[in-house]
């Protein structure tokens, strides 16, 4: 079989103008190369798209049976946000099969995460990491590859390159959500979005604007939240008390949609008769409310498991393919209906 010539450590050494041994020292974080040379080697590897043989490296670290996950969210949120818990439980389901552990840390910001990942890796506490919640111009995309840390990212490749990544096709799902609400007859559709610094929030916001424009509907208001129930309630209240009240609201997670349902009740508005609410994720929260929440539904536990399997593939074979996981699909329940006449 023919194919592009495989890039080897020799090519990297040649491009950086150093020996193969120096490349190895740099990637294994050993002394013996200057910082400047190390930087040149990392740059050469990046240019060529080369990474050290992770399989060999991971075997030599056979003792390491943990993978890392740093989460840049407040602790309270971790316990309340069903997405995270189901995602982590999915990761654990795969780790359990392999008697491996998850090293979990909450970080205040992404720079702190970069430092933590480096310490975990250099002190051999982890064999690899799962990277989540990418921002635009995420510092991890430039700071981590040079470490040689095997990592799988969660997010669209436009945000996560050069890491191999798995992502949810948020743009397509937002389009489906908007078309469904429009098909019910809604023309005033607003959105309660998640944290604005997260890359996938931006992707959803653009897709929302584009979907409304594509249908010839008026531009919708989009309010940012931190995904909490409190801010979801506040945003819903703002939208429902505006002069130009929406007849349908699309949410970025379940928790804010549940909070929105309470706000509608508090304001004497009936769901779905007066206003339709559409949640996102479809955790068990959506079936506990009254009425049950319509939602964009996907298997978050399965997503976590798939990401963990991708990381093990990377550790064992040296590569894993970037790919989307199944796109969220509409699960209509009792919180969406045609708008009032």
């Amino acid at each position: 079989m023919s194919g592009p010539a495989r890039i080897t450590i020799k090519d990297v050494a040649a491009r950086a103008g150093v020996s193969k041994g120096a490349v190895s020292l740099a990637f294994n974080d050993k002394p013996g190369v200057s910082d400047a040379t190390r930087e040149r080697i990392f740059a050469a590897a990046r240019d060529l798209g080369w990474a050290p043989n992770l399989a060999a490296r991971s075997l030599s670290n056979a003792r390491v049976d943990a993978i890392g996950l740093a989460v840049c969210r407040p602790a309270r949120m971790l316990g309340l946000e069903p997405w995270y818990m189901e995602f982590i439980s999915g990761i654990e389901s795969v780790l359990a099969e392999r008697s491996a552990s998850l090293l979990l840390r909450l970080v205040p910001d992404l720079d702190e995460e970069v430092g933590q990942q480096a310490r975990w890796w250099q002190s051999k506490q982890i064999a690899g990491s799962i990277l989540v919640d990418f921002h635009g111009d995420d510092p991890r995309t430039t700071a981590l590859p040079g470490l040689g840390l095997p990592a799988v990212a969660v997010g669209h490749p436009s945000l996560t390159a050069p890491f191999p990544s798995l992502w949810t096709d948020d743009a397509t799902a937002v389009g489906e959500a908007v078309r469904y609400l429009a098909a019910l007859g809604h023309r005033r559709i607003d959105r309660v979005g998640g944290a604005p610094d997260l890359g996938h929030t931006g992707i959803r916001a653009e897709a929302f604007t584009a979907a409304l424009a594509g249908l010839g509907l008026p531009e919708g208001r989009q309010l940012a939240t931190d995904f909490s129930g409190e801010e979801g309630a506040r945003a819903t209240r703002t939208l429902l008390t505006s002069a130009d009240r929406p007849t349908a609201i699309l949410y970025d997670n379940d928790l804010s949609a549940v909070a929105g349902l309470s706000v509608a009740a508090e304001m004497g508005l009936s769901v779905p008769t007066d206003v339709s609410l559409l949640a996102w994720d479809d955790s068990q929260l959506c079936t506990l409310t009254h009425p049950k929440l319509s939602a964009m539904s996907h298997d978050v536990h399965g997503f976590g498991a798939e990401v963990a399997r991708a990381l093990f593939e990377l550790l064992e074979t040296g590569s894993t393919e970037s790919r989307p996981v199944p796109t969220p699909v509409l699960m209509p329940r009792g919180s969406t209906a045609p708008p009032p006449r």
Copy 2:
């Protein structure tokens, strides 16, 4: 100030008939003492209630900035059970202040946990551990102390000795729950309990029987579940289809109570008019249902934080006091009322 003479490494050495150096080797898991001697040293330390100076030890392992948590439950459950997620988020809130990480692993059984804790500790992956879900005759209480692993247990001291432990006073809370239902007029009260092999399930079962007997009420049926919604629904269906149907049911967690609410609706029974349901934990699930669930309420996030602080105290000072956390209190909502006449 006077007090009992402090037990030192010298006392342990004298009782075991070895040198202080041998005690140190044994507790630091270094070669140089035979297995038989090591066992004798551990037995002497246990008899005297001595543990190595963890403060000194932990300082010498200053690099170790992770603590361990092994959970013997299915992965799916971890994502669905609010108790676990809030407990872990509480732990993380304290770890985050100290830039420390949680090493989390799901284990299939407690023997596997013993092996995992030993490997984590001996390979210096953790500075200490949080031990949860104690069984009667729990293998961890005999296998782990000899390792010298600093650990704080979650559970009543009758289950967790010799570890320092923090616990919820389940017996008192069950008594309060039963007295409340009896005060409403209920005489046929049943219980949907958690996993029967867990020690705290046994404590609650005994307290339930004792509380009913103390009030002169007929003995209640108690059904075991795995804490899942499925088994909570099945148990509720069994109770509500019995000839001698209860007018009130006490649950061991929120998830099974929520499932019980659906079963009542499916059977055409109105809550609370036909049957009262009382949940346990009072996570956000309880306020999302219709009617909202009455529950035995406690701060699970705060409990996790308190346990993590106790472990850090143990690491830093060499000891921490066993103590109960605040007892769950009744939070009456819409799912409890007097029984039908």
